[in-house]
Amino acid sequence: MIVDTVDMMGRVPVTVLKAQGELDASSYQELIDVARQAYNEGTKHMVLDMSELTYMASSGLIALQSIAVMLRGEEPPDPEYGWSAFRAASHDRELGLQEHFKLVNPQPNVDRVLDLVGFKHYLAVFDDLEAAVASF
């Protein structure tokens, strides 16, 4: 998987993460790392362009969750400690759609994974990159 970043300007600055290739347990940490670097450099709003992401496993969902938590200003659990780290991260706040992290144009097999786990209730999905950037 290759992840490129592009800075765009809507009503606010937005960093677009463009993922190409296959997102699985061998590569999801790379996506988190790229997002973290952008976040550490001041990004507060991110879009993940999934139009050239040809595959996503459950580990990709962990990356999406980690990025969403990071952009809320919270520290995501370290995935190196295993999936169980995420159980420890659970708390009681009610959350709706994430305000700082949105998805664009997932391919059918990736979209299906998002649907199967109900992630689209919490991460807005756009068909168009410009619309996603303008939505912040």
Binding site: E22, D24, A25, S26, Y55, A57, S58, S59, L61, I62, Q65, A68, V69, E74, G82, W83, S84, F86, R87, A89, S90, H91, D92, R93, E94, L95, Q98, P108, N109, R112, V113, L116, V117, G118, F119, H121, Y122, L123
Partner: protein, 174 residues
Amino acid sequence: MPSGVLEGPVAAMGSETGTIVLKTELEGKDEQGRPVLELALDAGLDELAAIRHQVERAGRALGLGPKALSDLCLAVDEAVTNIVEHAYGGKGGQVVLSLSATDDVVKVVLRDWGEAFEPQAVPMPDVDAPLDQRQVGGLGLFLMRQVMDSVCFNFDRHNGNQLTMIKRREGGKA
């Protein structure tokens, strides 16, 4: 080396990364003349993409459609990831994969010799829970159960863990 009644060519497969210690592919025919695929490999996370591509190629040869191929690859990927991460503690280890089909179903069997896996010990994720209240740890198993019609684990002290997953073919074009 996987057991089973296999005929046809036996090809030793190389590795682009050089990390696969053993990767032997046997493609042949079952008793009814249908193609079968068996892979014996030292699985690690770096091999996931190669395994998916092998399964996709074999599934296509079995006549599976795009959706069934996608589901099959996802289920195998999640299963192998679990084996590497949990059965072998992240270090990887030997996995034997067998893929076969009849007119009605496609069946994949994965065997490993790592720690026994107890699916009952993995809590099913609450997919309706808010994002950060989810127990992501069960998502891989959850996805396997969502995309396959049957997911069955067996642990044998001598013969290792065996995971059998079955997907029904819809009108022969699943």
